[in-house]
Symmetry: none
Subunit: 215 residues, 4 copies
Amino acid sequence: MARSRTPTALRRTPQQERSRAMVERIIAAGQRVLLRDGYEKASTNRVAEEAGISPGSLYQYFPGKESILAAVVDRYSAELSTRLTAVLADRLDERGPALVRSTLDGLLDALEENVEFLRLVVQELPRSRQGSRTADLEQRIGDLVAAYLAINRSQTRGAEPATSAWIVVRLVEHLTVQYVLERPSISRATFVDEMTAMIVAYVGPPDATRTRAPS
Amino acid sequence: MARSRTPTALRRTPQQERSRAMVERIIAAGQRVLLRDGYEKASTNRVAEEAGISPGSLYQYFPGKESILAAVVDRYSAELSTRLTAVLADRLDERGPALVRSTLDGLLDALEENVEFLRLVVQELPRSRQGSRTADLEQRIGDLVAAYLAINRSQTRGAEPATSAWIVVRLVEHLTVQYVLERPSISRATFVDEMTAMIVAYVGPPDATRTRAPS
Amino acid sequence: MARSRTPTALRRTPQQERSRAMVERIIAAGQRVLLRDGYEKASTNRVAEEAGISPGSLYQYFPGKESILAAVVDRYSAELSTRLTAVLADRLDERGPALVRSTLDGLLDALEENVEFLRLVVQELPRSRQGSRTADLEQRIGDLVAAYLAINRSQTRGAEPATSAWIVVRLVEHLTVQYVLERPSISRATFVDEMTAMIVAYVGPPDATRTRAPS
Amino acid sequence: MARSRTPTALRRTPQQERSRAMVERIIAAGQRVLLRDGYEKASTNRVAEEAGISPGSLYQYFPGKESILAAVVDRYSAELSTRLTAVLADRLDERGPALVRSTLDGLLDALEENVEFLRLVVQELPRSRQGSRTADLEQRIGDLVAAYLAINRSQTRGAEPATSAWIVVRLVEHLTVQYVLERPSISRATFVDEMTAMIVAYVGPPDATRTRAPS
DNA sequence: AATGAATGAGTGTTCATTCAT
DNA sequence: GATGAATGAACACTCATTCAT
């Protein structure tokens, strides 16, 4: 019972290492099965077989089927998040349209990395099986955008930063995903231009000195 | 005995009436089961039990499980579509911000009519089970918006009407649905204001200097 | 209730005529369904549909599924029997090898008339579904053969006519059927020659004056 | 714990033993169900119940219903084949009538071992469910008989050995089976006498004047 | 007589989960 | 820890038969 909680800071015991490796193996197998067989045919037995372990062993690492699939989606979300963060890391000094443009570009890059699985998650999986990571992410990014807006945007428009942030986050998320999945006959450059124009027009130009079109 | 032979084309025989009633009963039962038990647990046997008929009888009216659930979703989509059409019918002469505002209002009204089932469809059902109704509607409305933009909007911005229409349709659809489902702490009035502002700013205000096509 | 039993000898009432016609229609439909869908898929509902009547009406003419299929097989057996009788009718004066040969020829002709259905009956249908006609026929023909043997054959061999008849009837029946169904690489002429030789050798030449090979 | 790793190739692990036992148990249950309920009523659920296991367990050992029933029939065919082979093994030096007689006797013994199941297979099961074992056996025995005839029989008759073999094999098979199943009022001794006489007369007695291949 | 909607027990099969080893 | 045989309720669907009309 008195299992020490990571005794020396970040070090893990060999058992924990092995356990983590096994969890990863199961998640990877789960993703392969989902891609190969689709959601309806993805059974625990198939995941176990794909992972090269026995069905019983699954339950040493996960409490049930749902949590396995949720972990698969969560890992994907985490990958997306990581990729996006990496891309944006060296654009931290940008502001206004350039920042928006960079964000859109990074997001599209990240989403295009694994379109097949993105399609699976968005179109095949019931939202209720998608873990909490996406919602968390929306929340966190929403907070960041709100903070940014509170600091940077012009004072001519009256909405709460939180309101604009809520709208912008969902707008960006959904439209980029749909663009990648639907591939409408719009070039990526045009899509980014349009989205940037829309967002900039909506949240207002960052520079208060800039003249706005008379309402 | 003297069963009339449907002299005027549109009259229905009693059997047809009974059949229609049964179809309705099954669809209603399917909707209740979906709401009560969720998509994964919605089985033909449960639908039959909920409808108060035997499992075999289902197959007199539907070819299989998929078609039953599809009919449930289709009926809901048809209701949505009907309500929206009705609301917008007497606003056909509006232009610009007023038209946008009316559309948003109508859409929100329609979506709020049955939030519970909207949540089910959007969050529980895999997109692939949602029938073609939604996609059809998106397409049709997209065409309408593109046509409107081609005629009405100012020439100051360069994007193709089809491009703007694609973006605006998905934006409006997703954000209104999410607003109704998430109920963020944004008043409906504010939400409509913000959306209207965003869309008008994006597609560009109708150019007052440009001659409008006579209504 | 006091329905007259064919009042004037062979005449039938109109109802009885209609009934007989319906029975025939159902049997014909049953045969088509068996040929089209196979035994395992041949359901009463399909037979009714094929006959152009409602499933319920089947039970006005037959007590159940089994009896329908039995009637189909029986009608086929009756056809076989009729054809065989017709072929043999003008050979009644023959004796010995010529009679055997004629019988084999006639039987092969009759069996080849509808090989598809013969295959179905012999290979797909459980024997227990084959009605009693075949067994009856075997019995009757066996009796005839026994009578023939009792009168015609040489007295040098000692078996009971009934014994030889039992053997010969089954031998002829099974081998001709198998020949038609398996189509081994044996010409029909050779097959008939061989069968004739075997039977004649077995039951003994009809003419006592003929020299037999020393045992 | 120290589970031996099957050092010598032919040893089986306990799991394999258990698996074999389970397969046997299912086959035996299948046979009992077939005998008790008949082919049409023999369902996987009944077999499972009779075997004292759950329906799901069936599918750990067999891929489906057909293969279970096929295994039942195959096991019976294998038993028949084994018994027949054993009986004939010590008669290999016989020729002519004695060989025919031994074969018939051995065949009748083998068939009489389990008349109940023989009846089931022959009369209840559609031929198409009888596996390939019977057809294989027919083919193999046919080849043997043809070879025997090619070497041993007199040259007085002209048919191809393959032709005579085809006829004799089917004749012997069908008549012995029918004798056992129908039990006509013919003593077994008489039946064997008659059959022997017929076959010997047909294929021709071994020509005593002809030099035999040295055994 | 004829209908055909309704039945409901039944089918073969799957699969998340358990537990003795 | 790991196994994998065993489970058994559940699934989608069928069909011989009935019976109110």
